[in-house]
Subunit: 367 residues, 2 copies
């Protein structure tokens, strides 16, 4: 750890460095069948047993709510926590008025801060959740996001029944949800319910994982008007957040073992590299995009890759956190990326600006 | 102040008490013509000069974005702050995918946390903004919300052109936006821009105003299915937040000079009193509803009262904060209330649950 004092610091333009890491105690992921047929097959906690990914619901929106409900249930079950052990949930999704979160979480009766950052919401929920924990406002919170291919197509583009063709630079919305239980490193081992909260990573890999800082994103608008071309719409926001994170923390790209964006896809990745090169920043040897990790783009015919709030969330849960805990990486920068639009703004000819929130996650030695 | 130490405390189920108050340095409000024809006429900072409340835009959605942009501009201008003095904005609105906020704020280039809590969003943005400031993560943030009658009708109910009749228990969405500049009490008088930040209330009334605590809300679902009957849909959430705030802080209703809900209207107010009476809590001699304050329900034919994210925001800005600064009240509890639904959830027969976030605001003596 760079920072051994217990004091949190506001750094530079938009970053916060935590005096003590905010522990990620465990995480639960659930995905659709197609997500489990890609390169990460077998690493998710739960997979749809229905080829339409309805998760027992009778509408796509309710299916997405079922995803969120289940992601919380898995997260609680893996860590041994009960609902009363969770002080706040920070959650959001892509549907209008966040209905996937509202109806997915209503039964838990846990105080909720609803968020919207498009596909950057996983980053936003980890930023605000960890800020809450590091400030000592709560011992435990859950950060949570979801997306569903069918509900997102209906919400943003064409009904699936229409059978419209998709351009090659389009991405494919991931059906999935993941929750993350964040805990104060000073929290007592005993919880509100009196049950000990288990650390999933320490249990499996003898290593803890923590969030050590964040960089809040800002809206960047490069004048993109095509709602299929989300990679290019979001690349400037990702470039701003990555460059600002490096500057605020006084780091070089090499200080991160890997830098992940959310869902730029192959087209957006190229734009990101070019934009960062203009600031003499080269991340090309350590950049990964969650949207390019989750699917085999050619075999699965997903064009530019995966997207959606759930994309970066389930890749973080099923792929990145275990690899940190296994020791493959020591410190990573996780930058989910969002495109800010809706049906109306698109039809009224507005641009598609982007936003990206950055989260610094580290494997902890000797904490 | 009850709390003279500099330490923030997590209280009870869902509340946080700040060791030092988070200063509200100033606030900017802008409303439509109808809002300025009600009982608060003359107290808003800016009023539409166009009877259609288009604010210079060519669509209702863009008009709502213009409201947010202007509310920030007024807030900055009244406090003398520049955009670079504001570290984060916490903002949200009622439109799908928060487009009023995204397109209203894009030009400011201030890091943004997008929120969605329906009409409780003003409370949510003040909760999260003050949590950020009290933790020392920022010297200054802006909390901001908006709503627009015409964009909300299009988003949630019927197009205005349809001319549908509204039931008598329906409320009227307020056209308005207000921003609040929150500042750390320990922040240096000089800002990032080097300019001194003025305290609007100290300047006008020789009194400062601060947020001294919050209570995060949770979703309460009482099975209401009628999206016009939002007062009853939100009353259980308001009751939970008020009862939890009193319990968490160890207070009686009499410890608040006034308790404000956001937009329950006359129908929801009755339900709120009944629900609280079941817990032996009587707030009837000190309860006000922003939705009942902003319009003259009979003369203006708004049925149950005003509603919308902008309703509680502009009433706080134009009415409540000045009265606190004038010494009419010493400590108030501000509880904006939100109904969680969208067109799809309503048409698919889902319930309309509610959520309400609580903010404790005090006039400060000798701080």
């Amino acid at each position: 750890m760079e920072n051994n004092t217990a004091k949190n610091s506001a750094l530079g333009t938009s970053s916060i460095s935590y005096g003590r890491p905010v522990l990620i105690m465990g995480s639960g992921s659930i995905v659709g069948q197609m997500e489990d047929e890609g390169p990460l097959s077998g690493s998710f906690d739960k997979v749809s047993d229905d080829k339409n990914d309805m998760f027992g619901a009778d509408s796509w929106e309710k299916a997405e709510s079922a995803l969120q409900k289940e992601a919380v249930a898995i997260t609680l079950s893996k860590t041994g926590a009960e609902t009363r052990d969770i002080r706040y949930i920070y959650a959001g999704d892509l549907l209008g008025q966040n209905i996937a979160s509202s109806f997915g979480l209503v039964d838990y009766q846990i105080p909720l801060f609803g968020l919207y950052g498009a596909c950057s919401t996983c980053g936003e929920s980890l930023c605000l959740g960890s800020m809450c924990i590091a400030a000592g406002y709560a011992d435990r919170v859950i950060s949570l996001t979801s997306s569903h291919f069918a509900s997102a197509q209906k919400e943003f583009r064409y009904p699936l029944e229409y059978g419209g063709q998709r351009p090659l630079y389009a991405s494919w919305t991931v059906t999935g949800s993941a929750g993350f239980l964040l805990q104060n490193i000073n929290a007592s081992g005993k919880s509100v319910s009196g049950r000990p909260i288990k650390n999933e990573y320490e249990g499996k890999y003898q290593k803890k994982i923590g969030i050590t800082g964040i960089t809040g994103g800002r809206i960047e608008d490069f004048g993109i008007k095509d709602s299929f071309n989300m990679g290019c719409a979001m690349a400037p926001a990702a470039a701003w957040t990555i460059a600002t994170n490096l500057k605020d923390f006084g780091r070089k790209p090499q200080d991160y073992d890997a830098i992940f964006t959310g869902d730029l896809g192959s087209v957006g990745q190229e734009a990101l590299f070019k934009l960062l090169q203009q600031e003499s920043i080269d991340i090309s040897d350590r950049h990964y995009d969650c949207g390019m990790i989750i699917y085999d783009a050619e075999k699965q015919d997903v064009h530019a890759g995966g997207s959606g709030c759930g994309c970066s969330a389930v890749v973080l849960s099923a792929h990145i956190l275990p690899k940190l805990a296994m020791g493959d990486w020591k410190r990573i920068l996780f930058v989910p990326t969002g495109a800010l639009l809706n049906k109306t703004s698109f039809n009224e000819g507005q641009n598609v600006p982007g936003i990206a929130h950055g989260v610094v996650i580290e494997a902890l030695d000797g904490e």
